[in-house]
């Protein structure tokens, strides 16, 4: 077999796998309907506003409820020091 034929076959397989990802994603999204509905239910029922992604500090737990000054509440000169704070800024929507 020619080398180019082998390479093209591998590439076609690769592309097929990548399109399989899209199909897998579509199937999973369809299946996830229940999951998402369950989450949306909880959100509605308990009137939640945020995802439970960062529970290390109060203002990272509810970024939408936080203030610009939250990190400094403990002590006016303290710097914000939680790891997730280095990744996540204060939400811009709160600034006005």
């Amino acid at each position: 077999m020619r080398k180019s034929a082998i390479y093209l076959t591998i590439t076609v397989i690769n592309i097929a796998l990548c399109s399989a990802l899209f199909m897998h994603a579509a199937v999973r999204r369809k299946d996830a309907g229940k999951e998402l509905a369950s989450q949306a239910n909880i959100v509605k029922e308990y009137q939640l506003t945020d995802l439970v992604l960062f529970t290390e500090a109060r203002y990272t737990r509810h970024p939408s409820m936080a203030d610009l000054n939250t990190p400094f509440q403990d002590y006016p000169f303290s710097f914000e020091h939680f790891p997730s704070g280095s990744l996540m800024p204060v939400p811009p929507g709160i600034r006005r």
Binding site: R28, Q47, L51, V52, T55, E56, M65
Partner: protein, 380 residues
């Protein structure tokens, strides 16, 4: 030139490219491995942040339309229930409900819980519903007793009556749901005061107007609009993948310089080889075309493999490698399977971020390789 001839020519060139790539196996595999790693990390970040962003925007669509908080001396403060009755009278507001919620730090397990009071609590006083994450952190289960210390130092015991469904962990992991009386008792919050208000509006177009009216009527409050919350999440995750990208661009740049260097640092052997090709009948543009296929073989393979690995990483293993970053110092971390929201657009962005710079970096080197004089092989 007919199409068949054209195809055959390209295949011949690919044959030759593969022969010469395989000849320098070590170096080329190192290059491909580095390339795959770059694509993998970038794609993982983009898949993860995009999927979370989409999930947040879908799930939070059920969040209250406007949250009204009272501010005292720049701090979030308890709000009197009377505000709710006044706000309900504003034209266009269909209801203004009170919300009671807060945080509780559990010294035993060093975890932060979010305590909330729903509008209607299914269980009698002394019963609570908790999120899956809480049972994990507190090593407890349905039917068990969970101890809390009240604001005046008393030990309060609550029985877990329900564990919230595991598939909702992304929003419920750290929740402790309890009755209003228990909540007030635990924190010593007097009747008549609540944490904040959830205002719903009949016509979604009027949300902004009504938020402004509330702000006018009660200058000491801060209305937070749901669209703002969703927008905030969008911005957070865009920002996050952007900043990671900027941090990562150092690595990307190093890689591009490496591939530039590899492509331009033609060894005497390679120069001679291209000299032979040109002397025996290859034209400069044939060599450029050959180099194009070489670049494509490397970048396309790395791109596709990196993409596959990233997908598996994010959506099959829930981004295990990123967990330390996402988790930070938190004790509670939701275990969630991320719903794969991916789009062709992300693939295009990734392509633009990885393949385009690589290709550009190799244009000039491959040209200078291709313009080796054919009589080079005769002169040496």
């Amino acid at each position: 030139m007919s199409l068949m001839v054209w195809i055959e020519k390209q295949r011949n060139l690919i044959d030759f490219v593969l022969s010469s790539l395989l000849r320098r196996k070590g170096k080329n595999f190192a290059l491909i491995a580095a390339y795959i790693l770059i694509v993998f990390v970038l794609a993982s970040v983009m898949f993860l942040t995009h999927a979370l962003k989409r999930e947040a925007s879908i799930v939070l669509r059920g969040a209250p339309e406007i949250i009204v908080q009272k501010m005292t001396a720049g701090r979030h403060d308890l709000i009197p229930k009377t505000y709710a009755r006044q706000i309900e009278k504003i034209a266009g507001v269909s209801s203004a409900k009170t919300r009671l919620w807060g945080y509780y730090y559990d010294p035993l397990f060093k975890a932060n819980y979010t305590l909330i009071v729903p509008e209607l609590f299914k269980y009698e006083e002394g019963g609570i519903a908790v999120g899956e994450g809480v049972t994990r952190a507190g090593v407890t289960a349905e039917g068990n007793i969970m101890p809390f210390f009240s604001s005046d130092g008393k030990l309060m015991n609550y029985r877990i009556r329900e564990v919230l469904p595991a598939d909702s962990e992304l929003v419920s992991s750290d929740l402790v749901v309890m009755s209003e009386a228990d909540f007030r008792g635990l924190f010593g919050i007097p009747e008549g005061l609540v944490t904040d208000l959830a205002v719903s509006v009949g016509n979604p177009q009027e949300v902004l107007t009504i938020a402004n009216k509330i702000k006018q009527q009660y200058p000491d409050t801060r209305p937070v609009i749901r669209d703002e919350i969703i927008r905030t999440y969008d911005a957070i995750f865009d920002w996050r993948s952007g900043i990671l990208l900027v941090i990562f661009s150092g690595a990307l740049l190093a890689f591009i310089i490496f591939s530039w260097d590899k492509a331009s640092g033609l060894s005497a052997e390679e120069r001679r080889e291209i000299g032979i090709l040109k002397a025996t009948g290859w034209e400069t543009s044939d060599v450029i075309l050959m180099k194009f296929w070489e670049g494509l073989a490397i970048s396309l393979t790395s791109f596709l493999v990196g993409l596959l690995l990233a997908y598996i990483h994010v959506f099959f293993t829930s981004a295990t490698l990123f967990e330390p970053v996402l988790k930070g110092w938190a004790v509670l971390y939701p275990s969630f399977r991320i719903v794969p929201f991916i789009s062709a657009y992300q693939i295009a962005v990734l392509f633009f971020l990885t393949v385009v710079p690589y290709t550009t970096a190799t244009i000039i080197p491959s040209w200078s390789a291709a313009t080796v004089d054919p009589d080079l092989v005769m002169r040496t």
